[in-house]
């Protein structure tokens, strides 16, 4: 079993509020989060000696360029182009760097801008495979890829649109308690089912709204956090896997299924100890797969699982307690941080108005990068309250 994470903690979960469109570049959003984290922690910029950065719209720059933009001089630097897996992977990298002494305080940030052409530019050249073998088929972007996966999943396991709708409606109820969520109007199952088709079987409320924004947190040892007067959320276990099950003809499972036993063993808790779950939800079908592949229910059982539970913050199985990307918006790579930042807020007692009662343990899962016909990056972690 991989070594545990000792006294590594996560502090100052921070969001630069999302906006539908922005004139600012990605670096501006990233710097806003960095500045806010420094103010909240009381740390000087020079104290940040590690940086993990993710962005889909920072090009032609990377994390390297950002150090000069922001006047940072880190001795540990990660550029993590892993989309929806970025947050968990950043935490995993940062925790190991601090454990090993390669850095003392690592800032983990993802941020992206959005304007009239940023999204279409992104999908046109997302990867060489998608440019050659997906984009020419109607330029549907991730909607088309996930429509095919959703179609196969519905046929394979008997899931219905209403099953996906229950998740979307619950997440909207959670978003209504989150002032940072962009979509807070009430959503009923009837309205979900009546929405216009985008890429059938996907309809409007199955798809995230691209937007601009950023998310971040700091990783350090607990003693350092306490000296700063910060309540640190502990990292109990973390996994990642890339290009799992390459021979499956359609993606019906992800790398979590390979690594979940390692995750729960490292964390020292079982799924029934989890008080809230943050799954990556660019589309509901992948949220269902995470519930299955991480061991909350059997394969193909997510529809029945969701039917029997209340997924709101007041319910018996709170999922995506801030509304998830489906209601908060998808700020590019920050979508891969959204659930992690929300989980840290919940466990640190900072989720005012939507706190899950007595939350001790959270599971956060990430999923990223539809390189051709499936998402390649999977990651997950288990966090514990201070």
């Amino acid at each position: 079993m991989a070594r545990g994470y000792d006294d590594i903690v996560v502090v100052v979960p921070t969001t630069e509020p999302y906006v539908r469109r922005s004139e600012h570049g990605a670096a501006w959003f990233i710097a806003r989060v960095l500045g806010a984290m420094l103010r909240r922690s009381g740390l000087a910029k020079d104290a940040i000696d590690g940086l993990c950065l993710s962005s889909l719209t920072l090009a032609p720059d990377t994390a390297v360029a950002f150090t000069q933009h922001a006047g940072l001089s880190p001795r540990f630097l990660e550029w993590l182009p892993m989309g929806g897996a970025s947050g968990v992977v950043a935490l995993r990298r940062a925790a190991r760097a601090v454990q090993a002494g390669d850095a003392e305080i690592v800032a983990c940030i993802a941020g992206d801008t959005a304007n009239a052409t940023s999204f279409t530019d992104l999908i046109e050249n997302f990867s060489s495979f998608s440019r050659d073998a997906v984009y020419p088929y109607g330029a549907g972007g991730p909607n088309a890829s996930f429509a095919l996966i959703t179609d196969a999943y519905m046929r394979g396991f008997g899931a219905t649109r209403a099953d996906f709708g229950r998740l979307c409606v619950a997440q909207r109820a959670n978003a209504r308690r989150n002032p940072l969520a962009l979509l807070r109007e009430p959503l009923t199952l009837e309205a979900y089912l009546a929405a216009r088709p985008i890429a059938e079987p996907l309809h409007l409320f199955d798809c995230v709204m691209p937007c601009a924004g950023a998310e971040g947190f700091l990783v350090m040892r607990r003693a350092r956090a306490e000296a700063l007067g910060l309540r640190g959320v502990r990292l109990l276990g973390a996994i990642e896997r890339h290009n799992a099950y390459a021979d499956d003809p359609v993606q019906m499972r992800g790398g979590w299924a390979i690594d979940r036993e390692a995750l729960w063993a490292q964390a020292g808790v079982a799924p029934d100890a989890i008080n809230l779950v943050q799954v990556y939800d660019d589309y509901p079908v992948i949220a269902f797969m995470q519930l299955e592949d991480l061991g909350f229910c059997g394969k193909g059982g997510a529809a029945a699982f969701v039917r029997d539970r209340d997924l709101t913050v007041a319910g018996d199985f709170p999922v995506n307690t801030g509304g998830g990307q489906l209601s908060a918006g998808q700020a590019g790579a920050a979508g891969g941080y959204l659930g992690l930042v929300e989980a840290v807020r919940q466990l640190a007692g900072e989720a005012a108005g939507r706190a899950v009662p007595d939350a001790r343990h959270a599971l956060v899962s990430g999923f990223g990068m539809i390189n051709y016909d499936r998402g390649l990056c999977t990651a997950a972690c288990v966090l514990a309250a201070p």
Partner: protein
Amino acid sequence: MRAAAAAGRFALQRCGACGRAQYPPRAFCTACLSDNVEWEVLAFAPGTLLARCRLHHSNALRFRPALPLDLGLVRLDAGPVAVCFLAGVPAIGAGVTVRARLDVAGHPVLDAAA
């Protein structure tokens, strides 16, 4: 692949070392990493329809007049999986025939028909 598609033929990559067929094309074999990958030029490729979707929104203006577009995920009998335009309404699990052509932008694309 482009030259073959211009002639209405589907050029499928196959490894000269281990025989593995692959799609989308790449510079080396995904199985054994040999760079001895060859083109197998076919009149058509048989396959099975795994999943379908109907696209009502496109991010590129050039596709919008053609909406809605039916797309399918086809497992070629040769092994790999290909995203294709769907012609007609082949049933899921049914055999389809995949042919290549150049689209108006000069890009090779695949059509799957019952």
